[in-house]
Symmetry: C2
Subunit: 333 residues, 2 copies
């Protein structure tokens, strides 16, 4: 069972991932092939036996689970950071706190094709990927131990992807993440001062100013945030005030697929297909009805190194003003 440990000063929890346990010699030899073709790729068609059994898949009718015939496939991460089952018991050790590493860690293989990335897919297929994400969010809501589901996509080796085959992941946690708690508190403070949701205000401002807008459709705005931490950082935010990613309707899902494909496509076009992390920020399960949250997606290109200044301060240095970044991205077709 993995263990969660708390840094008592800053409320930062760390998963001590025993399933992934590494000795010094493991780091020296930690050079995985992230390019290359489908040979030996556990996410490729025909290699289903190389992964844990599938939890969910989009399949041609009549095909068997854990065999070819799928176009999207979900299974537990082979080296799961958190494991389902049991209660999330809390403990302590001297001045420190810990907790059982209960939760879930799943892989969503987004395509049967080893080389077809999000921007290359048809909108309808991106829609199916998002529908799969939504289904997993909804299913995991039933587990009383799980307070939050973090969905993320590591694209490219620099961004932490250890396999090149297109995939995303989710880690469901027995705690509400620090970043989400901070955003909720920030939204509360903003609401108290202004009587409005921060994101609703920011969307109005960005639509009026236009200089940071990357793309727009009926349901979503895609823009480079004013205090972008990374060059070419992009946020995709629903125009309607909505707390949970997983409460999106089918028609909203279609519009998200369109703007997500367009946004990552522009990024790939402007910067020669750069590595990025994509993260969904959504309200926790069982969210207090009196509180406010506005879900959104953050796309964080990994073009600069996060280094001593950032680790020391929690602040960032961004060499590309978001206005210039958005201008470049708008020009990509």
């Amino acid at each position: 069972m993995p263990e969660l440990r708390q840094e008592p000063l800053t409320d930062t929890w760390v998963i001590i991932a025993t399933e992934r346990s590494k000795r010094p010699s493991d780091f020296a030899s930690d050079k995985k092939d992230t390019g290359g073709g489908p040979d030996n790729c556990p996410f490729c068609l025909g290699n289903e036996h190389m992964t844990p059994p599938e939890i969910l898949a989009l399949r041609e009718s009549g095909t068997e689970p854990n065999a070819p015939g799928w176009s999207i496939r979900v299974f537990e991460n082979k080296f799961a950071a958190l494991k389902s089952g049991g209660e999330a018991r809390k403990g302590s050790e001297g001045p420190y706190e810990n907790m059982d590493g209960v939760g879930a860690h799943e892989v969503i293989v987004e395509s049967a094709d080893h080389n077809r990335n999000l921007q290359d897919e048809k909108v309808e297929h991106v829609e199916e990927i998002l529908r799969t994400w939504r289904a997993r969010f909804q299913q995991l809501a039933d587990d009383a131990n799980i307070k939050y589901t973090q969905l993320f996509k590591n694209y490219g080796s620099v961004a932490g992807a250890s396999l090149a085959h297109p995939h995303s992941q989710l880690i469901a946690t027995p705690l509400v993440p620090k970043n989400i708690s901070e955003e909720i508190k920030g939204m509360e403070n903003y609401y108290e001062r202004n009587g409005r949701c921060y994101f609703c205000d920011a969307l109005d401002f960005e639509k009026r100013e236009q200089e940071r807008v990357v793309a727009e459709n009926n349901t979503f705005l895609s823009f480079c945030p004013y205090a972008a931490r990374f060059p070419f950082e992009i946020w995709i935010v629903p125009k309607a005030h909505q707390e949970h990613f997983h409460s999106m309707t089918d028609s909203e899902l279609h519009d998200l697929a369109q703007i997500l494909k367009e946004s990552v496509g522009k990024l790939a076009g402007a910067l020669n297909d750069p590595p990025y992390n994509l993260v969904v920020h959504t309200a926790p399960y069982n969210f207090d009805k009196n509180k406010r949250y506005h879900w959104h997606i953050e796309i964080l290109p990994r073009l600069t190194k996060v280094a001593g200044f950032e680790w020391g301060t929690g602040y960032y240095i961004n060499p590309t003003p978001p206005e210039s970044a958005a201008d470049f991205l708008r020009q990509v077709h």
Copy 2:
């Protein structure tokens, strides 16, 4: 003048570094030579004209500034993220806040030798490096615009060093960094609950348990923290309760030089000289006498990738328990 911008929800400030401004094409060609020898290295002896004028240097007597004869040399970063002079005026833009990018950004070249790293230096020279850090902390305290000095060392290209020649940097900020504010608040909360300083308690516990201890001398303890975010993360903490790095006495400075050299030496020995970020965490200038802080150094080896889960949640996954890491490090001589 660089600009500071605030992410209103999370109190994260970002330096939009106009001096370092980059277009998409700059990222494609952003491959700097970080290995190699002293040819064209602006930090090497004889190339003093390639850097801004020196602010401070440890020199043989009779040698001229900005010429050979030095063994440690400090100057402004050629691409300074923050610039000195003027007032840190605050402004706003729609729902967002900003501030003039006032402060300082300096480089401390730690050796005249392109290839001699911290662990290879004599303790006496490491002591001179630390004395130089302390002198810059003390000098910058006189600037009324500066609230905090963040000292950091990026070691190795993966850790963000764009030049291989041994150096550290400081960025002095017109704000108290988010990470430091959080730690101060955490210390306050801990003190209220326990009537003791958190670090004083943790030191007692670590000395008793021994399993996470890496090294110890009269003045300092070096250990892998209980909730280490990174494999082989090491903290060096003064045993006496002390708020400010720059209030260290000469004899404490000597002991810090000894344990710092030993700690980075063990890291280099155990992991084949890995990249790391080193950060000093100290109390802000003009620290409220009624509050509590305990300064320390964090050494963060960059062996794992920070990816979507970390960016989404603010939590970390560490595949190496700190007890195992400390055990390996203790065995290196």
